[in-house]
Structure formats: C-alpha cells, structure tokens
Assembly symmetry: C2
Homo-oligomer: 502 residues x 2
C-alpha cells in the first residue's frame, strides 16, 4: 500500500471512529439513557458532530484523496482501493457542498421541529406545525441548490439516500406498478371479510414473545457474538462496526407482530451490516450501500421469507408450543392468512405488503410538488386527503391519521420515503435471482434452513458494503435494473391465493 | 461573563464532551457490548483519546486560559470563575508535562500488560508478568520525572489521584494508625470463632437480590431519573453528566454481600456525582474532587451507614420478607455480626473494615520502595509475602493470593491504592461532622430516613465538584486535616462490641 493511501485510510478510519462513537451514544440514548441524560447527551453529540464534520471537510483530506488517487491510478474498478477512492471523493464532495452554517442551522431547526410535530400530531393540529414545515421545505430547497441537480431539485434529495436515483426514474418505476396495486386493493376490498387477523391480537406473554423472536433470528443467521437485541420505543438497527450490530424491538402484550416481523425486519438490516467484508470495516465502504438496498434485505427476510407459507410450515408448530393454549384452535393455513391480511387503512407503518408502496407513492408525489411549489404547505392536509381517497377509496378523518402521521419531514428527511418502496421491489428481484441459483431455496426455508440464502446474500450483496452503488449492485446481481414487475407478480400470486380471488 | 471566559468555557466543555463520549463507550464496553465489538471499540476509543488530548494541550487553549485569568482577575477564591481558572490551569499544566509519544507508548504497554497479568495471575506465574511489570515501573519513573516532584518520585504519582498529597504525609497518616489495626486484628484473631458469616452464603435468588438492592439505594437517595444500575463483571460507577450516572453490580446466587454492600458502595459514588452543582456540569469542575474524597462517600454509605446496627434495625425485617424461609432462624443482632466479620485473609477486595487499610499500607510501602529501587521487581513475591506475614500473621501460599491479586499495576495505576485508605479515614471525619451538625442522624438512619445525611453531604461536599482540593474541602468541612484517630476510635468501638472483647 502506498504512503498516501495509507495516510488517507487512517484519516478516513478516524472519521468513521467519530461517527461510530456518535452511533454508540445514539443507541444508548434510545435504549438505555435515563431521562435526565437528555441535555448533556445533545451537547456531547453536537460536539462530536462538529469534530466529525471538520475532519470530513478538511483541506488536508481533500489533498490526500487527490494524492492517493494518483498513487493507485490503474487499480481495477472492482478493487477495494479504487472503490475507497471513489466513495471517499464522493463523500468529500457532498460534504463540501453544504456550508457549515447551513448544516448547523438545519440541525437546529429540525431538532426543534420534532417536538412541535409530535405535539401537533397529538393535538390533530396541522396549523401548529405549518410554519415549521414551511421553513423545513424552504431550507430543503436551499439544500438541494447547494447539492446541485440537473433536472429536478428532488433529484438532489433522492441522491442523498439512493445515490444516482432520479425523480424521473422513481416516477417511471412507481407509475409502472401503481395501477396494478390499486386494482388488487380494490378487488380485495370487495372480499375483505374473508381473512381476519384476530389471532395476532391474543394474549401473548412478552418474555415468551422475545424468547421466540430471538430464537427465530438466531436461526436465520443473526450473529449474537457480533450483535445484540434490546427494547426501544421505536425499533431500529444501528452498528458501530460489522462486529457490533444492535437491533431493537417494541413488544405489545396483545399484538405479536412486532416480536415476529419487527424483529426479523431489523435482523435483516443487521445481517446486512454483519456481512460486510472485514477488510472494509471502519472505512467509508464499511456499511450497506443505500437505504433502498438496506430495505431490500430487511423486507426480504421479513416478508418474502418471514410471511411465506413455507417458513410457517416450519415455524408454526414451534410458535404453538411457545404459547400453549393460545393457538390450539388455529391451523397453520389460517395463521398464514392472518399474517397476510390486506387492509385499507390510514397509517403507513401499519401497512401490509400490498398497500405499502401506495402509501409511499402518495408521499413521493406530494414531496415533489412541495419542492417545486406546485402545491402549498397550507393546502397540504386537503391535498393529502384527496389523493389518499383516490388511491385507497377511503378518506382520513383527521390529520393525525393523515399528513401528520410520519416523523420524517419534521427531522428533515425529504426524499427518503421512496427508498422503502424501492427496497420492496429489489427484495423480490434479489430473491428470485437467489432462487434461480439455488432452486432448493424454498424447500430449505420450509425446513428451517436459511444458510444457503444468507450465504448467497453475503456473497452477492453484503460483503461489498459501499463498493458499488445500488444501481451497480443490482446490475451485477440481477443483470438488469430495478424493475417492479417481479414484485407485482409476487403480490398477485400471493394475494390471489390468500383471498381466494381469481 | 467576559468574552475570553465564555470562549474558554466553550472549549473546556467540548473537551468534557469528548471525555464523556469515551465514558459512554467505556460503560457500553463493560456492560452491553457483544464480544465481537472489542477490536473496533479499542480503535474508536483510541481515536477519541487522541482528539481529546489534542484539544486539551492546544496552544490556543493555553492562551485562552491566560487571557480569561486576566479577565476575571479579582474574582473571589470561592467563585465558580476563579475555581474554573485554577483547575483549568492545573489540568493544562499537567497535560502539557507528559509528551504525546510517552502517553501513547504507556497506553500501548498497559493495554497489552493487562492480559499478560490476567494470565499470570490465573497460572500463579509471577515470572511471566515480571518483565512487563519491570517496564511499567520504569515508564512510571519516567512519568514521575515528567510530572515533577520535590521530595519523592511517588509524590508525582499520588498527586495525580489526590492532588497535593505527599508521600511523607501518607506515611505519617498510615504509621499513625497501623499499630492500632495490627493490635485489634491480633486480638480478634484469638476469638475469631465468635462470629460467623455463613448466613451471607445461603441460597439467594438473584432477581430478588437485585430488587432489594435497588429499593435500598433508591431509599438512600440515588436518583433513578438521573442514573441506572446494570450488571458487569467488575462493579464500577461512571457518569456522563451529573444527570446521567451509571453504576454496576455483580451478583452471586450464594453470596448476598455484593447485592447489599456492593450496590450501596457504587451508589455512594453515584450520589456524589449526582450532587455536583448543575452550574458546574460539563466543565472541568463537574466531577468529584479526588479519589480519596470519592471513596469517603462510597465507604460512608457502604460501611458507616450500611454496616451499622441502626441501618439493619430498619432494613433487616425487609430483607427477611424479601427472602421468605431463608433468614427466619437469624435475628438482627446475629445478622449484624455476620456482616461485620473480621477475617485475616489474603485478598484486598474481600477485606473487612478493620483489615482493609492494612492491605493498602502493604501496597503503599512496596510501591514507594519499587519507585526508588530500594526493592527489585524480581524480589517482589518474596518481599510481599514476608511483609504480609508481619502485618497479618499469615503467609500467602501462592502469588495469585499475593502479589498478583490486583489489576492496578498492570494498567499503570501506581500511587492509586492509598486513596482507598484515605477515603476510609475521611468517611468517619465527615460523618462525625454531619452528626455534630445533626445529632438526630443515627436515629434517622435507624428509621430508614436518609435525606438529612444526603442533603448535608450535597451541601458540604457534593455540590462543590472539583472547586476545592481534597485538603481544602476537608479543612472547610471539618475545620482540620485528614486524621486517622476518628476512624480508629470507630473501629475500636465497633469491633469490641461485635467480638465481645473487653
């Protein structure tokens, strides 16, 4: 390794170290910290953020990247060195585009905005949030200008979470499967009473839920010598290296879904991070490559595997044994239908596989129009409800159940929502490719064997970390680009069966 | 507040923020981190240590301290401003004395030494640790030269943990109570069988132990909205602000002491930190002032309060109720004697109130002689055992039970041990002062009321943080200096009673 590359690697690792220290403190804040710690923790995180930002935008770092790039000139595109230089240069350029003052002001605004939003949502009072949301979109427009774009200001935002993705491309992908979703949802709406999810709302002891969930994700392949699971109000996954991955869950005594699918979902994120190549750990390449690809992993394990008939033919007898007397009257086929209930309802985070992407499309369209000014913040509740009704055939009775439901805008995450839907689409493309390479996969899953799938994901996706962009990775893995058709086919197949349509 | 003082305060707070971030990561490492996280955590801590050290030794900081000192010229000695400048200048000078390379090299050496020591202790193989210990003392001698001293190189070490304390002063204090301890221990040795601690080794459910311990320390005044208690292999207390204090405990199914006295001990440290004035939080003044004063707090709650007859006249019925069937045959007087058993045995951390300081004196004398070269590392096991026999009348059968028992030297903590003994002495001086001011204190404790004592400690000791040195604080509180006589009187009184001496 050349001298400059060595120096660069050290500097980049130190930036990662500061970011990972912040991640530890963030995890602690959500999972462990006593109430009194809030004020000091905010100050500590802000100091580390300032230090990390200074390190990531130093002139010295820019020079080193330049020098190291010359040093490794000629290294193959797929080499770790070339990838490190690509990503380091990209991150540096992105960081340099946003003025320090702007970053600090936006952090301040969104930190105050979150509690204003929470109160407004609680009180069903959009007007109380309106001026703040106005400011957030105003600054987000400025941010897009700083970041730069060719066609649409929203491109600059998308690019932050799904590098290279454009507004036009998302629109094309969404429009290509929106009608199919609307049609299926309408068809199911007519026979909604064929499936009930009452069985998920029985009396489930929380300790036993946790025990069961832990045994499932361990079996899937989450490595507890390099990770742990805890409880938090909002479930999340974070990590401080590939060898220290933390996931969280929220449990309810009368609702078993979070212990089953919430845990599998976060473990899916976690296994992605645990699978990044050791050589990339602690470098800018040492994480999952994009939010969309990340979501493809969590959704694949949660839905494609975890909500499949095969999986439950293996898991259901164990679930019954874990809760004696609770599930005796329910057979596996009936349980399978319960966990695949489709419901037209107002809240995105409660949405099933079929309706989920439609909730995202609504937000995508509104975000684009808000960025261009085609719709005004003050008209937002009205427009939200109108479009929601067009999509789902039902109208939110309150803004709490409508435009105020998500935390994202209040914390400045605009352009983030589409990655959830893209993840759903990718999950099916990747899974189909894995099955094509390993035709016995579905049978293995039905017998509680998951290592073939996990190894395939590690080899084809996880190990690369950020070496390839989402588009590059999808090309390598599937030989093509992101495509909604496989996901739509999967949904049609599955829900025709569950709801006896046809 | 003047401009320079404002700037200085901000810089000092940011240094505290980095140190507190390291403390969060250290806590996580001991309490939460999965095994796999070790390597990355070491790298992250090392990066933050480097950043913190750079900030704490920057020329800019030195200039600011100088400028701010001129700005507040004339502020009273007791003012927060004057104290901040005193401590900032002292810390800066101390940090500047140690060359960066020396600090890094010593950190490297002691980080490797800990596992060498652990293995040597496990194998009862002093020779395997000898060359490493040789290097540690050699570098410690260099360190003492860097730090500077007038009379004895050990002064420079003591000063790190108990600012202003000297070797001569410690020797005077120790020699003033050593004969009394040896005499009492010998007297009890003749009637050792009068008291048994078998009752502490019964079968105690661990969850119930923890529940009881938590209820006790909450009653004492540990604030759980500003702290928490967890489990770790080695019990400790750490904090990231006065409002986020973490203590840990290790539980044993067949030994209830750690759940009782270990928890009270750490809560004593914790309440000291929780009691520091809010205005000092996040500044260099925002911690307990010295290890000795810290230990005075933990020991006062653990021993003077927690091992008193009065305390158990209140607590024992509750302990009996917590463990039905376990303690029915034991009355409170018998239990009180069990928790105050005196035993001549080899291990410091298992020592009782009477023998504890003697274990420290042994280490103090050896450390001084090792620093001057009066004894050689290679002779250490022999010398340890000889002196131990002089002190206690029994001889360690192995080095594991002798010179290899403590972790301290392996991690470079030389000059640290005396603070434990000084803390014992101070605990009684402070407690007597509190009782003189509040004669009803013992009666209050016997009725489970602890707020008068805690409030007195907060007012007279805790709130000041590092504003005063240990000696200054003791002068303010007691009107005099550290003095072993009250502690010896307390021990004579207590153990004459427990052992029925005449």
């Amino acid at each position: 390794v050349g001298e400059k590359l060595q120096q660069l690697t050290t500097q980049l690792q130190q930036i990662s170290d500061v970011n990972n220290a912040m991640a530890v403190m963030g995890w602690d804040q959500e999972v462990m910290m006593p109430e009194g710690g809030t004020k000091a923790r905010a100050r500590q995180l802000s100091t580390l953020a300032r230090i990390g930002h200074e390190m990531a935008t130093s002139e010295d770092l820019g020079d080193l990247i330049h020098a190291a790039a010359q040093e490794i000139d000629g290294a193959g595109y797929d080499s770790d060195e070339a990838a490190l230089l690509r990503v380091a240069q990209y991150d540096y350029d992105q960081n340099m585009k946003l003025p320090v003052d702007f970053v600090a002001k936006f952090a301040q605004l969104t930190s105050e905005a979150q509690s204003i939003w929470a109160k407004a949502r609680h009180n069903n009072d959009f007007k109380a949030f309106e001026p703040t949301l106005e400011k957030i979109f105003e600054m987000t427009r400025q941010g897009a200008d700083f970041l730069g774009y060719t066609d649409h200001p929203y491109d600059a935002l998308l690019n932050q979470y799904e590098r290279g993705m454009t507004t036009a491309e998302v629109a094309r992908i969404f429009n290509a499967h929106k009608p199919a979703l609307i049609e299926m949802i309408a068809a199911i709406g007519e026979v909604e009473n064929r499936v009930s999810d009452d069985v998920l709302h029985r009396d489930y002891d929380i300790d036993k839920q946790r025990e069961f969930g832990l045994s499932v994700i361990e079996k899937l392949g989450f490595d507890f010598t390099r990770g742990r699971q805890d409880i938090s109000t909002h479930p999340f996954c974070t990590n401080f290296s590939r060898d220290d991955v933390r996931i969280t869950t929220r449990f309810y005594k009368d609702f078993i879904n979070p212990a089953l699918f919430g845990m599998i979902h976060e473990a899916g994120h976690g296994m992605y991070e645990q699978g990044v190549a050791e050589a990339l750990d602690g470098t800018p390449l040492g994480h999952g490559t994009s939010l969309g690809v990340h979501e493809s992993q969590s959704r694949m394990w949660e839905n494609v595997v975890g909500r499949s008939k095969g999986f439950w033919s293996w898991a259901y007898p164990q679930l019954q044994a874990q809760f004696p007397g609770v599930l005796e009257d329910t057979d596996v086929d009936s349980f399978y239908k319960s966990i695949n209930t489709v419901k037209r309802q107002f809240i995105r985070v409660e949405a099933d596989e079929l309706t989920y992407n439609l909730h995202i499309m609504l937000r995508f369209e509104l975000e684009c129009d808000l960025m261009t000014g085609a719709i005004k913040i003050s008209d937002l509740p009205q427009v939200w409800n109108d479009r929601f009704e067009q999509f789902f055939g039902i109208r939110p009775p309150t803004d709490t159940l409508g435009v105020l439901q998500d935390v994202h805008w209040s914390i400045g995450l605009i352009g983030y929502f589409p990655t959830y839907a893209l993840g759903n689409l990718l999950s099916m493309q990747y899974y189909n490719t894995a099955v094509a390479a390993n035709p016995s996969l579905p049978a293995e899953i039905a017998s509680g064997k998951f290592d073939t799938l996990l190894t395939w994901l590690q080899t084809n996706i996880h190990q690369h970390g950020r070496k390839y962009t989402s588009a590059e990775l999808t090309q390598r893995v599937t030989g093509g680009q992101i495509d909604p058709a496989p996901y739509v086919a999967y949904l049609q197949n599955k829900f025709t069966d569950v709801y006896g349509l046809g």
